[in-house]
C-alpha cells in the first residue's frame, strides 16, 4: 500500500511545474507547501477525514481574514468560509486541481463573497453594525473569530472603498496575486486593476492615517 502510494506521489511529481520541482529540497519553501497540499488532496480524494481536517486547520484563518476584509462583516465572513469548506468537502473523491490549493480556496472565497453580495441586494433587512458604535457593545455571542484591533480598523476602512478596489487591494496585498491574475478574475484590463489599486491604497492610507491621529 505504501509503495503504491509513493508511486502515485512520484507520478504526481512528474506533473509538477519546473519551478515547483526546484523547491523540493528546500524545507519550508513554497514547494513544500504545494507538495503537502498535493498529498493532502490525494488523501482527501480517498475519503480521508484527517486530510480534510489538516486542510481546514491550515487555511481557515487566512480565508476568514480575506472574507472579513472583503465583506466588512465577521458574521458574513464566517458563513462564507464555512460554505467554501462545505463545498470543498462535498467534492471529495472527484477533486482535481491544476494550480495550488491555496489559490483555489481563495478564488472560491472570492466567488462566495460575490454571490453573497448579489443575494444581499435582494434582501431588505438592516444591518448597521459598522455604522456606529451602539449601546450593545457586546460581541456577537456565538462568533467563530475574534479580530485584532488592527483587523477591525482595517475592515472598517476597507468598507469605505468601492468593492472592486477592495478586491484588488486584498488579492494583491493579502493573497499575493499578480495584477495580471487579478485582471483575469475581475474580467478587466491590467491598467484598470492598477488604477483601482492606486486609488484604493490612497483612500485606505488617508482613512487609516486619520484613525491613527484620532
Amino acid at each position: 500500500m505504501a509503495r503504491l502510494f509513493l508511486c502515485a506521489l512520484y507520478k504526481k511529481q512528474l506533473f509538477l511545474k519546473k519551478s515547483e520541482k526546484l523547491y523540493i529540497k528546500t524545507p519550508g519553501s513554497v514547494c513544500n507547501r504545494v507538495m503537502e497540499d498535493k498529498l493532502l488532496i490525494w488523501k482527501f480524494n480517498q475519503g480521508s477525514r484527517e486530510a480534510l481536517r489538516r486542510i481546514y486547520d491550515k487555511y481557515h484563518s487566512h480565508l476568514l481574514k480575506l472574507a472579513v476584509v472583503l465583506t466588512g462583516d465577521m458574521y458574513t465572513a464566517e458563513d462564507i468560509v464555512q460554505e467554501v469548506f462545505t463545498h470543498f468537502a462535498q467534492s471529495s473523491g472527484r477533486f482535481g486541481l491544476l494550480g495550488s490549493l491555496k489559490s483555489y480556496l481563495i478564488t472560491s472565497t472570492l466567488n462566495c463573497v460575490r454571490n453573497q453580495r448579489r443575494n444581499n441586494r435582494r434582501r431588505r433587512l438592516q444591518s448597521l453594525d459598522k455604522a456606529e458604535h451602539v449601546p450593545s457593545t457586546a460581541r456577537r455571542p456565538d462568533q467563530w473569530a475574534v479580530l485584532s484591533e488592527h483587523l477591525e480598523d482595517l475592515s472598517d476602512a476597507m468598507a469605505c472603498l468601492p468593492y472592486e478596489q477592495r478586491e484588488v487591494i486584498t488579492l494583491r496585498t493579502e493573497a499575493n496575486m499578480t495584477f495580471r491574475r487579478i485582471a483575469s478574475l475581475q474580467k478587466t484590463s491590467i491598467s484598470t486593476v492598477h488604477g483601482r489599486y492606486r486609488y484604493g491604497i490612497e483612500k485606505l492610507r488617508s482613512l487609516l492615517n486619520s484613525k491613527v491621529t484620532e
Binding site: Y56, F88, Q90, S148, L154
Partner: protein
C-alpha cells in the same frame, strides 16, 4: 502611512484568532458534508431496492406493522407532552412582528468599586429603522437613528449640540443583522446548545428561560426569558467579557420591558436636527 508597503504591513499586523469550540463545531458540519457523500447512493439503486422489498408479502406486512407502531407511539407521546414555550417558534414569531420597543441596560465593570452603567430606549420598526435614546447619568446623551431605507445613520449629542451623519452603502444596508435588534440575540440563544432554566415570574408575567454558554475569550452566558402565553421574549440577558479600554472587562447587558407590535409613527424616526447644532 507613506506607501503601499505600509498598507501591506498593516495587513500583516491585522490578525484574528478563532474560538476553539466553535472551530470544532464548524468542522463537524463540514465533515458531515464529506460523510454524507460517502453514504449517498444513487437514486436508481434506492428505487430498485424499494421494488425488491415491496414485492415480498411478508416484508410488506412488516412495513405496515412498523408504520402502525410508529403512529401509535407518536400519538402516545403527544398525549403526554407538557405545555410551555415552543422554543423553535419563538424566533419565527418575533420575526413576523414589524415593531418593538424595549429598554437596554449596559454595565461595564472596571473594578470592584468602578462600574459604568447606561440605559437606552430602543424603537425598532421594519418600515422605518431603529432609534436608540442613550442616557448617561439620567441625561439624554446620545440619540442614534439607523435608517436603512434612507441609507443613513445619524448620531446626535444634544448636550454638546453636535451631530454626525454617516451615509450607508447598499452593502451595509443589506447585511441583515443588527445588534440593536433583539431578534439577533434570540436567534443566537435558541440556535445554540441551550439548557432550560425552568419557570420564573418577571413583573407578573410567567416566563420560561433558557441559557446558552458563550465560549472562548468572551467566556459568558446568554439567557432568554419568554412569556409562556404569548411565546414572545420578555427579557434577554448577556454576561460576558468584552474588550474595553484595552482590557477584557465584565459586561452585563439586559434587554427588557418589551412592547411587541406597537404602533410607531414615522416621526419617531425623523432626526429633526436643530439648526444651531454643529457637525462632529
Amino acid at each position: 502611512m507613506k506607501s503601499a508597503e505600509d498598507i501591506k504591513r498593516y495587513f500583516q499586523k491585522s490578525t484574528l484568532s478563532t474560538n476553539p469550540e466553535k472551530h470544532e463545531a464548524i468542522f463537524e458540519k463540514i465533515q458531515c458534508a464529506q460523510d454524507q457523500l460517502k453514504t449517498t447512493t444513487p437514486a436508481s439503486y434506492r428505487l430498485n431496492l424499494r421494488r425488491k422489498i415491496m414485492k415480498s408479502p411478508i416484508t410488506k406486512l412488516s412495513a405496515a406493522t412498523v408504520i402502525i407502531i410508529a403512529v401509535l407511539t407518536g400519538i402516545f407521546l403527544l398525549d403526554n407532552s407538557t405545555t410551555g414555550v415552543a422554543w423553535g417558534e419563538v424566533l419565527e414569531k418575533a420575526e413576523q412582528i414589524p415593531t418593538v420597543i424595549f429598554d437596554t441596560t449596559v454595565e461595564i465593570t472596571y473594578s470592584e468599586s468602578e462600574k459604568h452603567q447606561f440605559q437606552a430606549e430602543n424603537y425598532v420598526a421594519a418600515d422605518y429603522g431603529i432609534r436608540v435614546n442613550i442616557y448617561h447619568n439620567g441625561e439624554l446623551g446620545t440619540i442614534q437613528y439607523k435608517l436603512p431605507h434612507k441609507k443613513v445613520v445619524y448620531v446626535i449629542r444634544p448636550l454638546q449640540k453636535k451631530y454626525k451623519r454617516k451615509d450607508l452603502s447598499d452593502e451595509q444596508v443589506a447585511l441583515g443583522h443588527d445588534r440593536d435588534d433583539p431578534r439577533m440575540w434570540v436567534k443566537a440563544i435558541t440556535s445554540g446548545d441551550y439548557s432550560e432554566l425552568g419557570r420564573a415570574d418577571i413583573n407578573g408575567v410567567i416566563v420560561e428561560g433558557i441559557e446558552t454558554k458563550i465560549t472562548g475569550e468572551a467566556n459568558g452566558v446568554m439567557r432568554l426569558w419568554v412569556d409562556v402565553e404569548t411565546n414572545l421574549p420578555v427579557r434577554i440577558e448577556v454576561e460576558e467579557l468584552g474588550m474595553e479600554s484595552g482590557q477584557m472587562r465584565p459586561h452585563k447587558f439586559v434587554m427588557d420591558n418589551f412592547q411587541w407590535d406597537v404602533e410607531l409613527d414615522e416621526s419617531v424616526f425623523e432626526p429633526n436636527i436643530p439648526p444651531d447644532y454643529e457637525q462632529m
